[in-house]
Amino acid sequence: MKVNSLAFRLVAGAGLWLAAGLLAGGFLLSDIFEDSVERSFDARLQVYLESLIAVSRAGNAGRLELARGLGEPRFTQPYSGWYWQVSGAHGPVLRSRSLWDMTLNDKGGEDGALHTYIADGPDGRSLRVVERNVSLPGFPHRLRYMVAAEESEISREVAHFNEILTYGLAALGFGLIAAVLIQVHFGLTPLRRMREGLSSIRAGRTERLAGSFPAEVQPLAEELNALLEHNADVVERARTHVGNLAHALKTPLAVLANEAAREKGQLADSVLRQTDVMRRQVDHYLSRARAAAMSGVLGVRTAVLPAVEDLKRTLERIHAERHIEITVGGDRDASFRGERQDLEEMLGNLMDNGCKWAHGRVAVAVAHAGDRLTVVVEDDGPGLSPDERAQLFQRGKRLDEAVPGSGLGLAIVRDIAELYGGSVTLDRADLGGLQVRLTLPAAESKAVGTA
């Protein structure tokens, strides 16, 4: 779980208030319990005190004696922790056997009320004492009755309770945290689904976020879809404008060039040369602009083979005079992660080049492996030397003026391919001529049909 995540916030938040709640609850419970244990302890002491007073009587020679025992064996075992003592005006007159040779120090008041306090006992242990002054018949002075027991009895019981309480609350805390985790996981599922949807759009498997989301997230999904559509719209508009610009510039260029071609002289020559330069520049930058407009669009995929087959049909008509045989083969599932128009632009230029140079055969092979697809275009023409191949990509370079074509074809193909993160490499073809290998990002295979 990342620190900066919704899940972390929810779980950490729940953890904090759970810890605070459980701690406060624990302290409160422990406190209440301790209080109640103390009170019941005091009540027991009081019962013994009342019994002690009840069994006191004046015996022989005016001495105080007990009519019978208190029935609690711990008062007779030495230093058992349970003690009683009766004091007269001149110190203790009667003590429990458990006190042995000790006496209890009294701190009580002189009135007849019941007093409860803590006092030091044998071995420095602290004792809980109840004390009362009582006037008995036959005694001139008030007698001070005290019953005491070691306080550790209370703390032992409280400690035991606290132990059980701690384990219980810890178990409850863990249970609650587990419940929170499950709840957060379940609650955030729609967001995870949305993320998966977006990544399949990036990967080119789908075009839009599909399915319905909970009410809180649905508007987000709709906004995202609207954004994707807006993006596609903007790009489409840019493409249209660029197309219009091309049309608007090229017709006047044609007029100028044709007019100049009919004339002789320096002016006509410069016009011809300059219109040719302008034409190349327009071609180059318009292709780049069109490709740049498209390459960022998400969620588009184009099946490769149908595009190749369309181009084959067209090129066979363009080169009808020369009876070029174009063979097409390869992976029917291969899809390009990008616009059909851009794919056709690249493949059209490559196949057209092949047709221009071929003696009679052009072969196109489509393959795809992982997230890459390759299209290999070969011809049986004269081919190129390694040096010529190296020169070919310079912009506007035309190796043979005799074959019509701008010479920009390959450079445009490379520009578009690179905008998509692909590449173009040249080699010698098995057929004897030039082999051009175009590598492009593939859309992930999925049964989504796109024309």
Partner: protein
Amino acid sequence: MRILAIEDEPDLARQLADALREAGYAVDVAHDGEQGHYLGETETYDAVVLDLGLPVMDGITVLERWRRAGRNMPVLILTARDRWSEKVSGFDAGADDYVTKPFQMEEVLARLRALIRRAAGHASAEIECGPLRLDTRSSRVTLRGATVKLTAQEYRLLAYLLHHRGRVVSRTELTEHLYDQDFDRDSNTIEVFVGRLRKKIGADMIQTVRGLGYQLIAPDERMKGRTAPTRGDEGRGEPT
């Protein structure tokens, strides 16, 4: 040979028309899609030069309508739309060739010649009929190797007959293919031109088939009593 040029840019339309006329074609010009479509549907042309970005009706629609109506004259698309996707849709609409602007006039003329030749079923750039030979690239006619001097009208007539050698061509068909729509058509002028041609290339090359029209045929083939095959000429021109 008669060409229809549909181009909305006036300067370019004028240049095209001039160049085509200089090359020996009869030319009609239309400046919008609707007018162009109407001409292509009602008149007879040997080829059409069609711009795609036209006012009123775009070029692809014009082309598709012609093809649906069975008009199958060769069409050369001349456009600034140079994306391959646009070329594919142009050819799929029924175009026969595609030239992108800016272009060189020579290229348009060369491609038109090739289209017209292919439509008449000739694979080679040179068309022969006995001793007579037409080089479509240079628009030159030779008779037994010697150049025959022809006026523009005579050339058009002879070139049409050569493209359709061996077939009987009616006067109406000739009129339709030789003159642009503004020309004052009088079928008698055809007879005048045929007469002049006979003087230049020999009277026996052009036969008059009574009530039907004219037939260009090599003398030796006629003697064998058969006509030369006319390939790939389905339905172009009207049989009379």
